[in-house]
């Protein structure tokens, strides 16, 4: 019985050591990948929305013409409502973003080109030049004020 217990204990110790070694390796690897210190947000923070702006003035949803793919010039519609769910008209959109873990911005200068329907705007010239975590920031300015929605996209 004692022998069995010792065996169990030693298996337990081995398992602990294995887990510790693995997590150290994984952490080291992740740190190296990051380079610039930004931490990838939780999975729930990713997606096309609906997503609220930083100060809660707007809720925006991205509607890409095609699924986002690296290295392709793409068009995306942005549907915007206010806190009460009403479509936000006569807004101006400014686009920014980049890869926080790599310290670079968007490779192109996307622009809002037109308003399609009440509260829906078209943004053209979007390109992501590699796979991974991208931030896509839409700064919305309307009579309600200026506020930014930050989307986390995984390409």
């Amino acid at each position: 019985m004692k022998t069995l217990q010792r065996k169990r204990q030693s298996i337990g110790r081995l398992a602990l050591i294995a887990v510790a070694v693995l997590s150290l390796t994984a952490c080291g690897h992740a740190m190296m990948m990051m380079g610039r210190g930004a931490k990838r947000p939780a999975a729930a923070e990713f997606g096309l929305g609906p997503r609220a702006s930083a100060n809660g003035l707007y809720v925006a949803t991205l509607e890409p013409a095609r699924d986002f793919k690296p290295r392709q010039m793409q068009t995306v519609r942005v549907a915007i409502v206010d806190g009460n769910g009403a479509a936000v008209e006569n807004a101006q959109l400014a686009i920014d973003g980049g890869m926080p873990q790599h310290g670079h911005g968007l490779p192109t200068r996307p622009r809002m080109t037109r308003s399609i329907a009440a509260g829906t705007y078209e943004v053209e010239g979007v390109r992501f030049n590699m796979g991974g975590w991208w931030e896509f920031k839409v700064t919305i300015t309307s009579e309600r004020g200026a506020d930014t929605v930050t989307f986390n996209l995984s390409l």
Binding site: I11, A18, G35, P70, M73, H104, R109, G125, M130
Partner: protein, 415 residues
């Protein structure tokens, strides 16, 4: 107690499996790694997109005409330089020398041709936005072909009248125009050009542009072919082992390439390039004039006489690449084009002015990540061991494959 033991054994088994997967040379790939491998495979390459700026891009007669022009040394100041002088088909359309040599010596490494029709911007600094506009640059460069557009129009009129007119329609009459004149020539040639009537200048430029469009029709049929790496990905993706397609060092190098060496940050997709421009701290080549790379190139393409928005382009829709081009970004200083890594082992020396003689020197540079001579390098030191650098080099060498023309292996490369 028994449940506990199962948990422990389970943890051990999982740990062991992960360790095996992480070990060098293993064929075991995680789902995420497999997805990454597939994204690099040539089978993921999209069909060649149309070139709306060039109405003869997909005309086989234009391609055949362009092929003859590509190798015609009469399209030069001294009758000795053709496109094929530096872009040699048997050597992946490059010349194996640090700086290209035409009628003089250039300040840049000769770039390969295969699959470059897929890039939105051409040249190391991306100062051209189509293959045909690119082809016109060296023709008027004083150190490459060294001639003028009037000289070249004369070659077409005298030697290729029927071929040209079958594709592009009637050639203009250049009458008593001087022998050589063009906006890219020497002082006398520029003066002679400005002395010509505007409609004659336009007619000559139209012929010059069509030379570029025919050459582009030829060049866009030149594509990279599958390599040992692509066969390996096909094998592991269909749930088979890669077998002997890649050896242990090559597989370990591939793991580093898509992992901690960060190579896919720029060298991604089936052509191993994101088609962007980056400052990687590559040193200047002593004795060459200073240049700002993409910072200058991005502005130059907007003002280029032959860009997508120009009257010489056949594009009727918008020019998205120019419309959404980033300019004046400090990150563009000394940023140069990310070249495809396909066939890279066959294309020494490396970098925009042939600064590094071997792949080992290139990898050593990326590992050390020295400061840029101007602007800021995007690299961080990798701190890889020499053995790991050798493994990455071994992997990169698996990216060599044939060059294809119209989908078949080029005759210059057939064994």
């Amino acid at each position: 107690m028994a449940a506990n033991r199962f948990v422990m054994i389970g943890v051990l088994v999982m740990a062991a499996a992960t360790m095996i997967a992480a070990a060098s040379g293993s064929d075991a790939w995680t789902a995420a790694q497999l997805a990454e491998l597939r994204s690099l495979s040539l089978s993921e390459l999209e069909p060649l997109p149309p070139d709306p700026t060039n109405r003869v891009a997909d005309d086989p007669r234009a391609a055949a005409f362009g092929e003859r022009l590509f190798f015609d040394t009469r399209l030069s100041a001294d009758g000795k330089v053709a496109c094929g002088t530096c872009h040699q088909p048997g050597r992946n359309f490059q010349d194996g020398t640090p700086l290209g040599r035409g009628v003089g010596t250039t300040a840049k490494r000769t770039m390969p041709v295969a699959s470059t029709s897929r890039a939105p911007f051409l040249f190391w600094d991306g100062r051209k936005d189509s293959l045909w506009a690119q082809a016109l640059g060296p023709l008027e460069s004083p150190v490459e072909h060294g001639g003028t557009r009037l000289q070249y129009a004369r070659v077409i009129i005298e030697k290729y009248k029927a071929d040209y007119e079958a594709i592009f329609g009637p050639l203009p009459s250049i009458g008593a125009a001087p022998f050589s004149a063009g906006p890219g020539g020497n002082k006398d040639e520029v003066a002679a050009w400005l002395a010509l009537a505007q409609n004659l200048r336009d007619a000559i430029t139209a012929v010059f542009v069509n030379i570029g469009k025919a050459i582009a029709a030829y060049e866009r049929r030149i594509e990279v072919g599958p390599s040992r790496f692509d066969r390996y990905v096909a094998a592991v993706a269909s749930h088979q082992q890669g077998g002997t397609l890649l050896n242990a060092d090559e597989i370990a190098g591939l793991k580093l390439f898509i992992g901690k060496a960060n190579c896919t940050q720029c060298h991604n997709g089936p052509l191993f390039t994101n088609n962007e421009f980056h400052n990687t701290g590559v040193p200047r080549r002593i004795g060459l004039p200073d240049d700002d790379g993409r910072l200058t190139g991005a502005r130059a393409v907007l003002g280029d006489e032959f860009n997508c928005r120009s009257r010489w382009s056949d594009a009727r829709a918008s020019c998205a690449e120019l419309d959404y081009l980033a300019t004046g970004d400090h990150a563009q200083q000394r940023a140069y084009k990310v070249p495809s890594l396909r066939n890279v082992a066959e294309r020494a020396p490396y970098m925009n002015a042939g600064q590094f003689a071997t792949l080992a020197e290139v990898l050593d540079h990326y590992n050390r990540a020295p400061a840029a001579t101007a602007g800021h390098t995007e690299l961080k030191p990798l701190r890889l061991k020499n053995s790991e650098l050798r493994q990455i080099e071994a992997f990169v060498r698996t990216l060599s494959g044939p060059t294809l023309f119209n989908g078949g292996v080029m005759r210059e490369q057939r064994q």
